[in-house]
Structures are given as C-alpha cells and as structure tokens.
Symmetry: C2
C-alpha cells in the first residue's frame, strides 16, 4: 500500500470522456489498496478562454482578480472528477487551493508555494477517500487566491507529494515521457528511462516543454522522484530523479532547441566600466529577459556586445538599443531574428573532456556556422542559423549515439 | 454618505456589455460618496449549464461537489466586475463566500445562512474600495463550499445588508418592480410603490417570482428595507418594507396566480384517526410538497379528501394515491391537471370584513366555478379551472380597483 500523487494535464481532462478515462486509471490503483491524491489542471483551452474574457473587461486585468477568475478552471475539473468517483461508488472529496492549505506568497499570477498543511488531506485519506486537488492555485495568509503561473499544476503535484511524503509522484501528460530530442524532428529520438533533475531543468528551460521548470526545482529540493508518462496509454514513461553514479557514463543525455530567439549586436562600444549596466538596465526595466550575452574585446578600447532575447521581446529590445547607441557611443546596432539555439545536455560532461569540441566539429562538418556559444557544467549551447536547426539536431543525435540506450 | 448593498441578477450580468452597465451604475453612487457592496449572480444560463455538465458526469451528482462546481458561476462574475472597476480607476476587490465569511449550515444545495463576519468587507470599505461579493454561495465551519438554492443571491444581499447595517439594499432584476398582478395578463396592472414583507411573501410563494422567498423572510426578520428595481432603466422600483399603518387602508394589494398546480381527490375515505397521516406520509417520503388540503365530511363516517401538488410531482403523487386507495378503503381517486390557483393578497384584509365574500361573488358573476378555497390572515386563494385564470385576474383587478394608487 502506497501513497500516490497523480497529476493530469489539460488535455487529459479535456472532456467528460477523458475525465472518465482518468477516473478509471485512478480507481485501478485505488482498488489495489493505495491512497490516491489526484491533482488536476483546467480543461484544455479553458485558462486561455478565461484570460480572453478578462481582456474583454480590462486591458490589463487586475492580477488579484485575474487569479480569482482563473481559479474557476481547476475548480470545475476537481469537482467533476470527485462527482464521478462518488457516482461510481468510490468516496471522494475535492479540495481547492485554500482548502488544501497550499500557502503561497502574494505574487499573483506567478505565486511561489511556501507551505502546505496537509492535515485535511490526510484525514480524508484516512477515511479511505480519493482526494482531488485543484492544481495551479494556492492562497495567501491574508486569504487571497493566487495562481502559480503556466504549468503550475506540475508544481502543485510535486509540492503535495513532498509535503505528504508520497511514495510516488506521477505526472500524466499528452506525451509519453522525456525524449533524447524532439521526435517530430529526429525520428531516431529515444524515450529516456531516467533523467537527472539537473538535466531535466536544462531540457525544460531550453524548450523541451514536458514539465514546468519550477516543479523540477521543487522535486530536486525535496528529492521527489517524478514519473512523467502519458494518460493515453499504459506504457512506463521517464523517471526524473536524483543524479545516479551510472548517469555519468553517458556523455550526452539529450538535445534541446529553441527557435524562439533573436540576436542583437552593438558594435564598437567603448570598453569602460559601467557600459554593460547602461545597456542592460533599461532592458530589465522593460521586463525583457536576456538569455545569452557575449562580449568580444577589440583593439583600441572598443568592444562588440551581442545578446539574445525571446522573439516576442525582439522589437522592443531593438528599439531600446537603437535609442541607446548614440548615448553610449556605439558604432551600430545589428540584429537577426532568424537564429536558433541548439544545446546538448548531460551530467556526463562534468567528468568527460572534449564534449564541446566534438559538438563544434560535428556542426562544422555540415558547414553550420556557430555565432554564439555558452556553456554550463552540464550543457553546451550554440546559436546557429535557424534553417539549420533540424539538421544540427539530427547530426548531433547520431554523433553522440543518443539512439542507443 | 451611505452604505449601499446592491444585488444584480443573472440577466443584468449576462455579458460583458451588461457588466459594464452594472459598473457604471455602481460608480455613479460611489462617486457620490457612498460605500458600495455589490452582490452578483452567475451570468444568465451558466448555473443551468453547470448542472447539465454535472449530470453528464454523474446521474445524481454528489451534493458537496455540485456546490463546488456551481460556485464557479458567481466567482466568474465578481472577479470580472472587480477587474472592470480597477481598470476604470476605481479600487475594487472581490470576495467569495468563504472570504466574505458567509457561514451556513451543511445543507448543500439549499444551505441556510447562520452568521456573517463582515470585518474583511468593512476593512475594504474603509480603504474606499468597492466590494463585489459572490452571491448564492457560503461556506461551513468545516470549510466546505455551500450554495443557497435558486435565487439565493437575493438572500446573500439581504443578509449582508443586515450584517453590515446597510442604509439600503437594492435588488436589481429584469423587471422594474412588484406589480399588482402580472402585467402580461392584465394591462391595468400597476407597479406598487411599496409592499409589506408579509404581502411580498404571499406574492412570491404564490408564483409572482421577483424575490426569493427566503430573502424576504430574512429582510423581515432583520427589518432590512429592500428596493426591487430594474437594472435596465433609472426608474424607482418597489420598496419591500415593514408594514405601515396606512397600508391597512388598502383592501387588496395584489393578485397572484399559479397555473403549476394539479388536484387529487380521494372519495369516501373512512373518517378515522390516522387516515390523513396514512395519505400524506408517503408523499413526504417521496419529497412531494402538498399545497392546499381540504377535507369534507360526508354522512356515514366517510369523508372526501382533496389536495393540490405542483404539476411536476403530479404523476408521482397520483401513483402513490392509487396504490394507497385500496389499503385505506377509499372509493376512488380523481384528479385534474387543468386547474389554477388565484389569490388576492393584502394586509388590509386583517381589518376589513367581506373581502373573501367579494372575491367569490366577483368570480361567480363570470360563472367561474371555485373548487377549493384556502385563506390566511392576509390572503384568499381560490382554485379554479385553468382556462379562466386570465379572466379571473382581470375582473378581480377591476373589482378591487388595483389600477388606482
């Protein structure tokens, strides 16, 4: 007998038939004698509909009130699922964020979980009830409803699993696990049996959207093993777990990519203290997140400075820099929207030299020009021309033999 | 400067434009220096949609979970209205049942308000915020969401007005007040300037659906004057207030009717103790509400017993009685679906004799046969053939000069 936390995403509860499918899955484990806590997202599309409704009412909707509105999405699915269990003869009870006492800070729309009081859930489990919990939502000490941001239900599930000291945390989604790379680009992509938290964090932040980043951070912090799997079949998915010794034997675990990038270069910037602050402070003030930054020193006290931003921020960032160029004495501002970032990820890199060199040589053999490079302990990222993305992924996948377990 | 509680029904918040209309109305009073608490229903039709959704999931949905689901309707409208205020530059905050601390008993789907802690609302008003409150919903001491039953938002508003000691309670609806009778039947129907709680209770329970009965009971108990008016124009509506001395000068204040009635008669029932219990206990067990009951004693220890039920319960009631007839030794069971109840209501009846006699004679002059009569201190009801309903209303309206103020 185990305590299992399961989370089902929006497509898994997209209509009444799919909710029934979820119910049947849960009941199978319940009948085997387990305690079940089921965290749900809103039905697919509902959160976007609600945001749209809010924007019909207000150009920039009040954040506290938007959270009240958005919270109805999960409120609907958890009550429906609990009704279904009860009507099938299995006692069940739903808990909203405030009832599950999932306490967060006051940051509406992107709240962080601070504490969970699980007494009420435990009591329901002791009464042999199946517990459904509204994901994505929490509440503050001052009694306001908050939401955790996109994909927040993953974090709700992991946090509940940690607080309840659950035996397992299963995240059901519409993909059947974490792959070595995007299977729609590389037919040889292979589903990973396991991946470390750190690798998963790099994979997620680099555009392989399977789990919300924060849920992985949470899982790492509290050492909650996550089983990512599909709600549409019975196959085992991928275990996201603490790093194990044998993981280091593999050089590269996966390849991520991000086409949603644009590059801006300022040339011949006077190389003096404070210049970088001058360039990046207005970006931060405008809420623009800068990803990679590279500075090349030239002769004569001049330097070239290049950075990347997400495509939606591109125009705004370019405006800022063009207005700034004169003030800081830069020669010119150049930009390119047609770029992509391709990254190889693997904890094995820590103990193996030459991984980056191999990546560069593989790309160069295909005449793919690398315009920016950034590295971390377990990752090497290269910015290339966008049109080479698929090719780069395929040749790297082959070169690092990712199709082999 | 006054504290005003306003309540807007489902059609008044039916879409974004109508919510804007509500916002403008509220702001006018707010700008005049008043404190505003705005109680809302769900958008018209939404509660029915949610009930329908629940029935797709479960034949008889769990009552606790159904309340969680239904509560999303008002959660949506109060957050949208608060967003709209904020975007127009007026500080506003929404409160759900649990945040407004509207405590009820545990009777899901038909919960009764027991206590309201208004500290949080008062604090928001002190901060000059417009407060929107989700009608129809409350919560229990054990932390469960409850709903108050159809029309419950009226009760929420009146209860809040009582708890806040508000200066006025305005119920905005899609009719512009309480009329002497149904204006679609009688063109001479006149809007009443005021009506007493007791008269309103009789009007409401007899089928003139303007206010939920319980809200009027609440208003009477705590002496909250209610102003019933339209959200679609600026006209004064009807004040529902404590009985005043001059109200007694009017014999009859209004005429109500109910076509949703059916009659069942058991003939030649042995007239012995316990027989009525035998007849009505199975009705109560089946959840059937019996309205009027009349018993006529015949010679030879026999009696005829007639009662009315609401049309939707008619078939079930008839089945029960037909099965029972042999057991209790009744001669036969007769029934009639084509009946209506027409009632004259007025606190003036208390101090004037002959009102009932006048009603009977007015109906008899038109050859309208009366098959059942029931009276209270401030009401006389007659059951007649359904086809005469409109005629009866018109001749009574004329006879009691209801078109004259």
């Amino acid at each position: 007998m185990a305590l299992i936390v399961q989370k089902y995403g929006g497509t898994s509860v997209g209509d009444v038939d799919r909710i029934r499918n979820v119910a049947n899955r849960v009941i199978k484990k319940y009948q085997a004698g387990n305690d079940l806590v089921v965290v749900l997202s809103a039905m697919a599309g509902v959160t976007d509909q609600l945001i749209n409704l809010a924007h019909q009412v207000a150009e920039s909707p009040d954040e506290r009130e938007l959270d009240v509105l958005l919270a109805t999405g999960e409120q609907t699915t958890v009550s429906l699922l609990a009704m279904m269990f009860n009507s099938m003869g299995f006692p069940a009870v739903s808990f909203l964020g405030f009832q599950a006492e999932l306490l967060t800070n006051e940051a509406h729309g992107r709240a962080r979980i601070q504490e969970i009081h699980v007494d009420r859930i435990r009591k329901a489990l002791d009464q042999k009830k199946i517990v459904t919990v509204a994901g994505f939502q929490g509440w503050t000490r001052s009694g306001n409803i908050t939401t955790l941001g996109r994909g927040g239900s993953d974090t709700s599930a992991v946090a509940l699993a940690a607080a309840l000291k659950a035996d397992s945390c299963e995240i059901y989604t519409d993909v059947d696990g974490v792959y070595t790379t995007d299977p729609t680009i590389c037919s040889k992509a292979r589903k990973l049996k396991k991946i470390s938290y750190d690798e998963m964090l790099e994979m997620a932040s680099l555009g392989a959207k399977v789990l919300q980043i924060r849920s992985v951070e949470f899982a790492k912090k509290f050492n909650v093993p996550i089983h990512v799997r599909s709600s549409f079949n019975e196959e085992e998915g991928t275990m996201v777990i603490r790093e194990e010794k044998d993981m280091e034997k593999v050089l590269v675990s996966g390849i991520a990519y991000d086409k949603n990038q644009a590059r801006i270069t300022l040339t011949k910037v006077p190389d003096r203290p404070g210049i970088a602050a001058k360039i990046f402070t207005p970006m931060a003030q405008a809420g623009i997140e800068v990803d990679m930054i590279i500075q090349n020193t030239r002769a004569g006290g001049l330097t070239d400075l290049t950075f990347t931003v997400a495509t939606p921020d591109y125009k705004k960032a370019l405006d800022i820099q063009q207005n700034l160029a004169d003030e800081i004495g830069a020669e010119g501002v150049y930009s390119d929207e047609n770029i992509a970032k391709v990254s190889i990820i693997g904890v094995g890199m820590r103990s193996h030299a030459g991984v980056a060199a191999k990546m560069f040589s593989v790309l160069s053999k295909e005449n793919i020009n690398i315009t920016m490079i950034s590295t971390s302990e377990i990752k090497v990222s290269c910015v290339i021309e966008e049109k080479y993305t698929e090719l780069a992924i395929r040749v790297l996948h082959d070169a690092f033999e990712l199709d082999k377990a």
